[in-house]
């Protein structure tokens, strides 16, 4: 995969046995607390109550579950699109402004990134509540007469998830934009291209890998999101993660919950493999400060 470019081996090579011994604790950890548990969970989905795909058939047969899957896809897509429209100009401003301004914007984007997801979710609950600021403001300017129900709606989930996930979109786009030499824009300008045309024919195509990487990262993270839909969403409009939690904790239906995890995991893995070339994990994780 792509991070190989970051990891250029150097220095006197280790013996194969030495390398294995140094990596052994990692392999043990990931095997014991990740691969084996995930594998045994997925195997439950096809072996209990009896061997077969009946748990997966149940997802397809019952329209309620189909609706949950479609809603999850739809919400994740909206969150990704909204994040893109919010993040792209911010990334552009980060690249084009100098010094203190760039630091200020970066800090504004990153500070929430490192503040607790629960705190931010609670903040949205406060903003959106019946007697909250948003309802007060809408009433004050006369848009609505009585407080609206904003909390525990799909809109609340989309807005709060966009707020939480947007930084994941800013960073890869920023990484791509920063690598575009300023000469390209100047050359296009000399050739007579206006700002819009320069954006469309120079900046946008060169930023595409970052846009695609950020979009898919936000989309996939949103698909499996649990905390925000669980706290701000309506129980009648569940997403897949809240459905999994309900099947597990309320109905104790392990095999069915396992099948839902299976669907989610397979879908996410397939998309990741499909787009593996646009994922620069080092850029997404390493460049966070």
């Amino acid at each position: 995969m792509s991070p190989a470019r970051l990891f250029q081996p150097d220095g006197r090579a280790l013996s194969r046995a030495g390398a294995f011994l140094l990596m052994a604790p990692f392999f043990l950890l990931i095997g014991f607390a990740f691969l084996y548990p995930l594998f045994s969970l997925l195997s439950i989905s096809v072996t209990e109550p009896q061997v077969g795909l009946q748990n997966y058939e149940r997802i397809l047969d019952n329209p309620v579950y189909g609706k949950v899957l479609l809603r999850t896809l739809w919400i994740a897509l909206m969150v990704a699109v909204l994040s893109l429209f919010l993040a792209f100009p911010v990334a552009m401003a980060m690249v084009s402004s100098g010094g203190a301004m760039a630091v200020f914007i970066t800090a504004c984007v990153l500070l929430p990134f490192w503040s607790s997801v629960l705190v931010r979710t609670a903040a949205w609950a406060v903003l959106l509540q019946r007697n909250g600021i948003i309802n007060d403001a809408l009433q004050a300017i006369g848009l609505i007469e009585a407080p609206m129900r904003l909390l525990y709606t799909q809109g609340a989930v989309v807005v709060a998830m966009t707020h939480v996930l947007m930084p994941f979109m800013v960073l890869p786009i920023y990484g791509a934009l920063r690598n575009i030499p300023a000469d390209y824009g100047r050359a296009a300008a000399i050739c007579g291209a206006g700002p819009l045309r320069r954006f469309r024919e120079v900046t946008l195509p060169l930023a595409m890998p970052g846009v695609l990487g950020g979009f898919i990262l936000v989309f996939l993270t949103a698909l499996g999101y649990f905390i925000t839909p669980a706290l701000l969403g309506s129980p009648q409009e569940m997403m897949i993660a809240t459905l999994i939690s309900q099947q597990l904790r309320e109905f104790l239906d392990w095999p069915f919950a396992a099948a839902l995890v299976g669907v989610l995991t397979l879908f996410v893995t397939a998309i990741t493999l499909l787009f593996s070339r646009v994922f620069r994990f080092d850029r997404m994780l390493g460049g966070q400060l």
Partner: protein, 271 residues
């Protein structure tokens, strides 16, 4: 770049300011509520009190959860840094196909949704008696934090001159001594900043905390989740103030560590 007022630029900056207001507003709104008198959340805050900090620090359940989370976060940072640095060192000194396997496995926990990991561990830990234990949480959090630590340490190792280590070994140092006395001091700032990230990731981690919580031992994020779901008292803003303080402290420390790393690297690159 010219400094003439460019309408496109002004429009862009106006839009960016609006986005930044969207990003900061929820946090700016919730923090002052920590000092508000009523026992529900209102804006603007009414009166001034420090009672909600008292309600947090004076409550045995909040304190127990905080200590439990702190313990898990410190151990997670320790385990992740030791295991991660060992593996990254092997990777950066040419591990062949093992290195490819390592990188593939490293990335899978980023790809697989946290809910899937949480549910898988919920089942497995119930069977093995690890549910709700410190060891269980540390293993789960170490897996989530590992990529962050590995990327940070790998970046440091790739910028440190490996011939220094070769020289030490040519002079008779064992590989372990060469690493301990030459390479480790050079990459230490990055190792420490990796540890800080692992600490924050673990301390803040809500999804696995939600599923693995035992009846007795709850982590701080799980206690916060229950509070937000049930009655949402101003204890949450009070915790938000404390957590924001911790985040700023960690970010500033990490930035200082990086600066230190850069200033140390300079002579090696010149010489």
């Amino acid at each position: 770049m010219t400094r003439r007022p460019d309408p496109g630029r002004l429009l862009l900056m106006a839009y960016v300011y609006l986005v930044l207001i969207f990003v900061l507003a929820p946090i700016v709104v919730i923090l002052p509520m920590a000092f508000s008198v009523p026992d529900y959340l209102t804006f603007p805050p009414e009166g001034f009190t420090l009672d909600w900090f008292g309600a947090f620090f004076g409550n045995a359940r909040w304190m127990k959860a905080s200590v439990f989370s702190l313990k898990i976060a410190v151990l997670t940072a320790l385990v992740t840094v030791v295991v991660g640095t060992m593996a990254t060192y092997a990777l950066m000194r040419g591990a062949g196909w093992l290195g490819s396997l390592f990188q593939g496995l490293l990335i899978t926990p980023i790809v697989v949704p946290h809910i899937a990991l949480a549910v898988a561990l919920y089942l497995f830990f119930q069977r093995t008696g690890l549910s709700g234990t410190v060891a269980g949480y540390v293993m789960a959090h170490a897996i989530i934090a590992m990529p962050f630590v590995v990327f940070t340490v790998a970046a440091a190792l790739s910028s440190v001159d490996a011939t220094l280590e070769d020289a030490a070994m040519s002079c008779g140092a064992s590989r372990f001594d060469a690493f301990r006395l030459v390479t480790l001091p050079l990459i230490l700032p990055n190792v420490l900043s990796g540890a800080l990230f692992a600490f924050i990731l673990s301390f803040d981690e809500p999804v696995i905390s939600f599923f693995l919580a035992g009846i007795r031992d709850k982590t701080l994020p799980r206690m916060m989740f229950d509070n937000i779901e049930q009655n949402l008292t101003p204890v949450i803003p009070a915790i938000a103030v404390l957590l924001t303080g911790v985040s700023i402290f960690v970010l500033v420390s990490a930035a200082i560590l990086r600066r230190m790393a850069q200033s140390r690297k300079m002579p090696a690159q010149d010489g």
